[in-house]
Symmetry: D2
Subunit: 341 residues, 4 copies
């Protein structure tokens, strides 16, 4: 932590800050410039933060230097990237995970149709929601346990591992029966209860970035999971909220190279929600692969016009093989291969 003193801070004020820094077991290095003095507090960031020096006499502001996350940081693995296996599919490194399936599990036939289609086209995993976070209490909230059963059937038939969302810690026992990857939605990115329980479950997690979460906050949320001993966390960029309103969310593809520098964890991109329309989902999917993402999670539907939820953004099953092929070509330029068994 760097403590920047105001111009005109007195020697006594500087001394008082040094004493407080040392009182929590940190060491203080004072750099006096012509116009201002900066004090470097070396030691535990939390201890120095805890001092609340922002309000102290003579202090202008504090500049954190060390990253607040540890297990999620690139340094923790000394620059090596995390690679882990999910039912035989490798995630991270030179592998590109193509995760596809319906937004919401609506029925057995739909689920099986889509599962077969994406399996045939070489997808790595099947996505599908049984519990749906909905802005309106009056909207369809998902099939719940019944939906989980349909996902299990689809897994049995196609062998594809299942990615599905958990919203309520009380549903964890049911969800772990089915999920190979537990998805944590953007609105729950800072639901610390949920993060901790998913960490304890040991099931791999796909953690979506909150609509206005900084990359540092995303990594801190991942840290909640990692801290419980669960090492298999995928970070997921799904669009952030900005002033632009000619589409739904701004897909932040800058996050891909930046997260890959800050952290060893795989970075997945969800282009469906940001675009909101299938003709925009395709170019953004290619762009994600070109930007170096470790995978994509995308919505596919056999009858998009009849979908209960988010139909306009689903890719139609009949177009999926061609879509997957284009993704494969661009991922290759970026040095990655589609991950299958």
């Amino acid at each position: 932590m760097m403590i920047v003193m105001k111009e005109g801070a007195t020697a006594d004020q500087i001394e008082a800050v040094v004493e407080r820094v040392e009182s929590v077991g940190c060491s203080a290095h004072v750099s006096k410039g012509e116009e201002m003095t900066v004090i470097g507090a070396i030691g535990d960031r939390d201890h120095v933060s805890g001092l609340g020096l922002e309000g102290a006499p003579g202090v202008a502001h504090l500049v954190p230097i060390l990253k607040p996350y540890k297990l999620a940081s690139a340094q923790f693995r000394k620059g090596e990237r995390s690679v882990f296996e999910i039912e035989g599919r490798r995630v991270g490194g030179e592998n590109f995970a193509l995760i596809a399936g319906p937004c919401t599990v609506e029925g057995r036939d739909q689920t099986l149709d889509v599962a077969r289609c994406v399996a045939d086209a070489g997808a790595s995993m099947l996505r599908g929601g049984a519990y749906k976070p909905r802005t309106s209490p009056y909207s369809f909230q998902g099939l719940g346990q019944e939906g989980l059963g349909m996902l299990l059937d689809a897994k049995e038939e196609t062998g594809l591992p299942i990615v599905t969302e958990l919203m309520d810690v009380r549903d964890l026992p049911d969800v772990v029966e089915v999920a190979d990857v537990i998805q944590i939605g953007a609105r729950n990115m800072q639901n610390y209860t949920l993060l901790t329980e998913v960490g304890r479950s040991g099931v791999p997690a796909l953690l979506k970035r909150g609509l206005s979460a900084t990359l540092e906050e995303l990594l801190m949320a991942a840290e909640y999971i990692l801290k419980e001993g669960n090492e298999s966390v995928m970070l997921c960029e799904r669009g952030i909220r900005t002033f632009e309103n000619s589409y739904r969310f701004t897909l932040d593809l800058m996050a891909v190279p930046v997260l890959r520098e800050l952290s060893h964890l795989p970075v997945i991109v969800d282009p469906s929600h940001a675009a909101g329309r299938r003709d925009w989902v395709q170019p953004m999917s290619l762009a994600a692969a070109a930007a170096g993402a470790d995978g994509i999670i995308v919505e596919v539907h056999d009858e998009p016009d009849e979908a209960i939820c988010d139909g306009p953004q689903a890719i139609a099953t009949e177009r999926f093989a061609e879509y997957a092929d284009q993704i494969r070509r661009v991922a290759e330029v970026a040095g990655k291969e589609l991950s299958t068994v």
Copy 2:
């Protein structure tokens, strides 16, 4: 819902949309202009949304007309404002609720000292956190049940109703023993599980706006609580995330008059977290009162420099009486009186 057709949409495409609108029991009014055609779909908004017409041939885009919230809307009370009582303090209407207390309950003495101070200065309620949402898993997470006990003692001694945060639905039984108002934090604004359970508890709720939640989303979150039969919901503006980084959050005071037009629910402002520094908390508190807020929730500490959490933004107890007095004067210009027993 207005369905705007593309220029050059054919008569068949227009007809197809009309048929689909009518298929879900809504009526369709077609307005043909020189350059484009607009179809008004009159009936249940969710039914029309469910059709997924964004992707249909000839459709340019959809424009929602009706508000998606009902119980929270100003129309629901025909323009009359909600006023409710919390342990004898009136909230809403011409009453101004001054809610004050420590960010975090740190110990018995601190809690009682602050409680006495704010009670003496005429505060309406006591705030204090026993469970704290923290960005870092390594930070102090609150005293939990022990902290709840200290709040109960403070209530017994001063008579002030208690406002405290709930983060985990499994803590609800403990929290309802103490809380006169359950606070739902900004990061949990769209934790639908939590909203529903707080709705069922019947305990009045103070619902903080998410960091990037639109006012419509805030009202939809309130709707989750109201829908369970709990009519006592306070909306709380606490700062939104913007590009500006010379302070912590942008306190959105425009939200005050706008929410008061859209909804009958009382609007409270939390100036502490946005400002992050006590010398900025004071002017923003006065500004909130001037903008017509129905109350303020503010952090107060007896020894801000020693606070475990957010000390720099806490108002010192010795300055609180003067602070309360200035708030009172500005609230009067805006037509409100401090709410006490």
Copy 3:
């Protein structure tokens, strides 16, 4: 400037950075922590910035410490606030400037009617636009020189100093004939040509903050004017662009106390454009006064329903006296008096 080295930066990399810092005449202080090394570069910020060290081997990132503006900084006046006179009206310090008038000069009668009204209610200056920046090339662009003439007539009749916008440097000779204050619009905040010429003109300037300008950028823009020897600059907060779209712009009142800490220049608030509706302009005006602003610039119209431009946000002349009275009361709580001759 603080140069934060990556974990694992070598001694050679550190030495190389030190040498480059010293090569531009700055001194380098090295602080070695357990996990990382930080190098403080003391001297001219621009010289160190010019080195482009962000890309150098072993460098993690750079943290600027010194403010890049000088003449605009609070330190430049050693904490004393700027106060200057405009035709006898004092701006800054304990004076509150109420600047009012039509958005656009539409005709002689309208301009005189509004001018008389605001003069009678105690306004400090008259605002009115002859050149209007319009998003659409098809919209009314202002009366130009003819409009300037009407403003001159209004000044002659009421004695009120004139605030009017300049968009094109080629119009400067005409505008200085009339303007007591030259307004620089938000879209031109970083039109450096215009800033420099207004600086050279010596006429007091009211500089509006760009829609997405940080406070630091606003102060840098002011620096362009101040650097030419023009010391009479008012900073104007007029609303920033955020994700929220239930009103036009987010009025950033946090900017008021923060700018007043960073700079000695007076801070004016324009509530009209952000609100966009007159029933929201009133509470935001009071909030600006409560937040400690040095003044308000607000739109007033004699027949708002007939206004060519922005009528819905104009306060009607018949309500202006009452409006001014409420402003006066709140400004008094904030320690200020309306500025008149």
Copy 4:
């Protein structure tokens, strides 16, 4: 324009709106729903906007339906894309323009070295700034006329067309001597004087999106140029301002497919300023090509560590051929070929 009436609007209020709409020569279609009434105003959007109906009794809000731009709209060319030639290089359609060169013209040797390098690698045009918009008045402002001369030399030697920025209308005569494309910077996107003069010059324009400009505003700015009869306008996405601060700007690649739907004009992406670091420029360049951009404008330097301005984001000349090759491969997947003579 749709005029949404408040619930409870009276028949008289509805009638009054209809009358005002008809008074400006538009026709009004009234749709009465159970809960609310919507009035469609068919005719000239500006006429209806000019009525200021937002403030009228009974009116809830206005919803614009027609796009405010005409010449820039996809409809204007009936869905066909604009393709134009610049010194024999085709821009738009199936052509991919690779525009490369130094941020700032620093000297004759640097300019020629970079120009030769990018010409050899197959670039379409040479970029280079002689006039530089700088946040600080104390920073290097460009070589001006001397720099223009160096660009002319580079063009003579390599045959590459020149893209260079114009900031001040008074420099137009000098700039048109050299520029094959006039660049309008992000900070000048709404400098209407500049837009109009560039429109009148007839020289092709590359118009950068403002830091917080919506896509609609970008198209309105293009409309200012097109309206003067200049049909050769390239739109340029260069990163927008958001809350995220772990990189410089958020490159909005969603803008690529969306602009290509809204407009017939070519869409170019500038990845250098948003990324701010060359190792992030490369993946974002590929992503732009994958998203369907019609070109890229990128910074290249022969000695990035010695660059006067923005060195850390420049691609080194020795790496440029490989960079261009990767761009070529991804652009091919997106159906485009590098544009050369």
